[in-house]
Amino acid sequence: MIRRIAMLSLFAFATTATAATPGDSFVAGNAAAATGAHASAATAFTQTLATRGWSANALFDLGNAYASNGERGRAILAYERALVMSPRDAAVATNLARTREAAGLAAPTTSRIHAELARVSSDEWTWLALAAALFAAAAASAWAWWPRQRGRTGSLAALGTAGAIFGFAAAIMVAPSRGTAVVVRADSARIAPVAGAEEAFAATEGETVQIEQRRPGFVYVRDGDRFGWLPQSALERVLPERAPAHT
């Protein structure tokens, strides 16, 4: 019974590990990229994401294809998404930095604490927090069941609880906010959600903004001290609302 539960748990939490096989879209994407057909490569890698699910390597290759095709906004979006899954990936960070540099965008400034915490992904922090919570729960139960060990078990329970709180706080801190979006097409942010409204600022392709409000066809975004309404089609969220099949 325990073995069955363990197997079910593994299936519930495991990611899908698949290898490229000749004839699939990933191989086709790389083949296209090798010949310089970057638009075809981007289409193939998008298809890979739709069929296999989100993969850091596929997102990285997709970012490369977009960057080589001159679509720097979409390239930055793909790299950002790859970093959500694999924050310590130096290649992704390198290409993201190069693409931002080529697009004339400054690297985002983050605090030192955030930078240190971001060496571990949000999911990894979540797992650490859950492990700490499990540890705290076990210690709390032991505290209740073995009164003679209450000093030690109480300390362990407090330690586990503190670890869980810290882990969840770090997971939230390093995860991109749900409103974080990348401008995939340069456009004018306007002072009102209508096409003819006065321009508030010019949104650069690849710029990262925060979505604060939504109206039909428009979103109200903030980029530092700049605010304005952008057409919804001009940007995409880093954390997509839909499965990759629809992107």
Binding site: T16, A20, A58, N64, W125
Partner: protein, 626 residues
């Protein structure tokens, strides 16, 4: 542009009375002239913590200082408080200083009114010259700065120094230097700029933004010391003078015009305590004030306020600068001068074809890190390299630290790939020779690319932007959602389930471990058992079944007694009842005996209803008082 105000120091509580007096007194330190500031002293006996509000019609008045002084003359101590005001008459003519009331600990003291005549003020230039004359710097003016301010090497109010640790340098070398400006107590200084060198043969970098300030004593006088640190770098070969300048605006009170110069000896005579202690002086033959030949007037700084813009110039140092020798100069030399060490962090993880690896080269040491360049690798067989990124972490001093060069490399074929040695050349001024540091080559066992994809042909062409890393041939692990788990409801439901399970486990343990709860639960179990037995008694009584009735009655009584006696219910016998309850348990014992005798045909004399009442009464009695 004006910099921050350095400081104004005021020397207080050092005063020695010239003579004793009684009551409050207002005194002007000199004659009054229109537009010129003169000092007004208001002195009272005793302590006065609040300065009086002095208002003089026709003159601007500003409180400058507050002093207190205690004097002991022939064993009698007296204490005075002095308030010093700056008075600037608006125009010529009569000026009335009204009586000034000063609140002291012993009551309010009031000065007498003062009536003076204000003369017409001299022309500004004349006034400044006249004012500057008494306290002119000890060193004569050397030149006039471009801004029009005087250049002075030192004065009675401020001077500047430059500490250079070595006097023989190499072009490009960086040495830490310290610049110190000293301002005499009572001098207010406003910086008109940062310290700068008098020659273009050197550059001054990393100059501290704000000087560190400290109070120091120089030759017995208090000074405010402002200290800057910076890096001095020779820009070209030279053998010349090096000095530093600091534009500053000084404001100070000129020495008073009164004469003559008075000292402690003048005030007290040869030995102020000579008479007090007679021939048995506690100091023996030594004179305790022998070294205190100080200028009392200067301690008060009671002259008119002077203000001037000057450029302080420190003493000149001679520094010889030479070029690093051309002979033996390595090809990769980039101008670094100092003492450095080079190290490399080997890449972490399993190298695979097409997978980027990060190499970190660390140059650590002392020297001009801005010229530490060129550390990294070029493409090598089986290795594609990418541009280097640099990051500097400063050490404890401006010339120490670690410059890290991070370079991404990608193995392009499987098998053994060697990361070649990296080199870095610098000029060591201590050895007066070039030194080239090397890293050791690193041998990598590169695994084949996963997924069966060929690496090299597709890699390089998959990116067009320079400096970008090529595609990967393995799609890697995939997951259904990109949303971080911390945003998913399942995570929080799982955590809530964990918390709930912990709470339940804790409650369960608590209920099991709590003696009171255990007693309540046991009591409830006994009550339920007794209730079931009495119901059986009632049923047996209804059908007139004495066997069943007495059996149930005995069980009910055994259960109740067992709870009290903490023993097994079925082990309690009529004998136990008689032994432990005595005559009080006769009815119970009788029930037990009937129950035992029923098997042998015993017959109860009374009807079952009677025994039903007896048993219930005994059960109730046992429950209340076991």
């Amino acid at each position: 542009m004006k910099r921050s105000l350095v400081a104004t120091l005021t020397v207080t509580a050092l005063a020695v009375p010239a003579f004793a007096f009684a009551g409050a007194r207002a005194e002007l330190s000199g004659s009054l002239a229109a537009g010129r500031t003169t000092q007004l002293d208001v002195t009272v006996d005793g302590d006065a913590t609040q300065p009086p509000d002095v208002q003089i019609p026709g003159a601007a008045v500003q409180l400058s200082a507050q002093m207190s002084q205690t004097s002991i003359i022939n064993g009698a101590a007296s204490h005075q408080t002095k308030f010093v005001y700056a008075v600037t008459p608006a125009g010529a003519g009569a000026l009335d200083i009204p009586p000034i009331a000063v609140a002291t600990a012993s009551g309010t003291q009031t000065t007498a009114a003062v009536h003076v005549t204000v003369s017409a003020g001299p022309p500004p230039g004349v006034a400044a010259a006249a004012g500057a004359a008494p306290s002119a710097p000890s060193s004569a003016t050397a030149a006039t700065a471009p801004s029009g301010s005087r250049i002075v090497q030192s004065s009675a109010h401020a001077f500047l120094t430059l500490d250079v640790p070595v006097h023989s340098l190499v072009v490009g070398q960086a040495v830490p230097v310290t610049i110190r400006a000293y301002f005499r107590a009572g001098t207010s200084a406003t910086l008109d700029g940062a310290p700068q060198l008098t020659t273009d043969a050197f550059t001054l970098s990393n100059l501290s933004d704000k000087p560190a300030q400290a109070q120091v004593q120089l030759r017995g006088e208090p000074y405010l010391m402002a200290t800057w640190t910076a890096l001095l770098s020779p820009a070209k070969p030279s053998t010349g003078k090096l000095a530093v300048e600091l534009p500053v605006e000084l404001a100070y009170r000129a020495a008073p015009r009164r004469a003559p110069h008075r000292t402690l000896r003048d005030v007290f005579g040869a030995d102020p305590f000579g008479d007090a202690f007679g021939s048995d002086s506690p100091f023996g033959d030594a004179d305790p004030f022998g070294d205190m030949d100080m200028d009392l007037d200067s301690m008060f700084d009671i002259g008119p306020m002077q203000q001037e813009q000057v450029t302080l110039r420190g003493p000149t140092s001679t520094v010889t600068v030479v070029e690093p020798p051309a002979a033996g100069r390595p090809a990769d030399y980039t101008g670094a001068v100092g003492a450095f060490a080079l190290a490399v962090d080997p890449p972490i993880g399993t190298p695979r074809v097409g997978e980027p690896l990060t190499l970190a080269f660390h140059v650590t040491g002392t020297g001009n890190f801005d010229r530490v360049n060129g550390v990294g690798l070029a493409d090598a067989p089986g290795l594609k390299t990418y541009p280097v990124k640099r990051d500097f972490v400063a050490g404890k001093t401006p010339v120490t630290g670690t410059q890290t060069f991070t370079q991404t490399v990608v193995p392009t074929h499987a098998g053994t790939v060697e990361i070649p040695s990296a080199a870095f050349s610098y000029f060591d001024p201590a050895k007066h020779a070039y030194v080239t540091a090397h890293t050791a080559p690193i041998s990598l066992a590169v695994a084949a690319a996963p997924g069966g994809g060929a690496a090299d042909p597709g890699l390089a062409a998959s990116v067009r932007e320079p400096g970008m890393l090529p595609n990967r041939v393995d799609p890697g692990d995939a997951q259904a959602s990109l949303t971080p788990r911390v945003y998913r409801a399942s995570t929080w439901f799982g955590l809530a389930g964990l918390v709930l399970a912990t709470v339940l486990a804790t409650l369960l343990a608590w209920s099991r471990r709590s003696r009171r709860i255990a007693e309540v639960l046991a009591s409830r179990r006994v009550d339920r058992e007794v209730a079931r037995a009495t119901e059986a008694m009632t049923r047996a009584s209804g059908v007139n079944d004495p066997d069943a009735f007495f059996d149930a009655a005995r069980h009910a009584l055994q259960t109740r007694l067992a709870a009290t006696w903490h023993t097994r219910a079925d082990a309690i016998t009529a004998h136990d009842v008689a032994a432990r309850l005595g005559p009080r348990g006769d009815a119970i014992r009788e029930v037990f005996e009937y129950a035992d005798g029923m098997a042998y045909g015993a017959v109860a004399a009374e009807p079952l209803d009677h025994w039903n009442d007896v048993v219930r009464a005994e059960l109730a009695h046992l429950e209340v008082s076991p």
